[in-house]
Amino acid sequence: MTTKTIVNSAIASAFALGLLASAGSAVAADQQTEKCYGIVKAGKNDCQTSAHACAGQASKDGQGDSWVYVPKGTCEKIVGGSLKPKA
């Protein structure tokens, strides 16, 4: 097929659906598609003045306590890659 034929048949395919089927309606998506139903993210502009506002922990980070600066989360469950920084 020439590109032109492909292009025309691709555009035409949208009409094969029939103009009655409204575009944008829900179509069964691929099985592996991740759907995030029911998530309403909290507004970030709420006045969340922290109760820790004067605990002083944000004062001088970067000095000492170097153990804090090692990632310690679920990254430990990610395997198969190089865990060393690239030289």
Binding site: V40, G43, S50, C54
Partner: protein, 292 residues
Amino acid sequence: MVAKPARYRLGPGTIPAQAGIGLRAPHYLEVLETRPPVGWLEAHSENYFGAGGKPLYYLERIRAHYPLSLHGIGLSIGSTDALNSRHLDRLKTLIRRFEPVLVSEHLSWSSVGGRYLNDLLPLPYTEEALAHMVRRVSQVQDYLERQILIENVSSYLQYTESTLPEWEFIAALTERSGCGLLLDVNNIYVSACNHGFDPGVYLQAIPAAAVREIHLAGFTVNRFGQREILIDTHNQRVYPQVWALYRQAVRRFGPIPTLIEWDTDLPALEVLVDEARRADAIVGEERHGAAA
């Protein structure tokens, strides 16, 4: 000769002189489904600055059932940077769409040199800062073509250069700009404790006719050795001392639309409704007391 400020009106509709609650995302569905018995709702303007999606979807549906107030956190009205025109545009669009009865901002600044600290930072109470605030509030009211309310903030420091007490600064600002007042009674209490002034004196100095809304919230006490500092955390019920100050405010200003604010550690909707009920009860008691 200073020109008399233009007097702008509030938005369409009215807010009942009854307690309302802050609308927060985790409560959207429950508010829609149960329609809690509160007089009105207040939303944080910036949470609805997006172009679409769920926040606007829910606000639209909820708005159909309650009078609305839009409360801004980020306009940085006291900043010496030029007013952020993008922010103002988004606010104006939001006001057109949702027709809030009240629109409010803070007596504070949060940005300088284009950098935002996204916090409600205190202004020095000087003639210079007063003239600046009057100019800025007028600019915003001219742009939005309506009156805005300005809220007093909790503060944790005072500037050596301040020459006016906060209450005089606020009284002069309302007089010269024509803005209304959102009096945060919790903030008065928090700042009074932090700076050692009498909150009753503050209330007495406030021009009663300017007060359009009252805020109530909980605070947190932090201790440094012998010293305490109160932080405006919006994370718990209103303290008894603040209820007492609210009662004084109701005596002085009459029934005013009052909002229960709660942001950190948001509880069940029912807790907010219960706090709103307590505010209404105080208004009721004072009304009967006055009639007796």
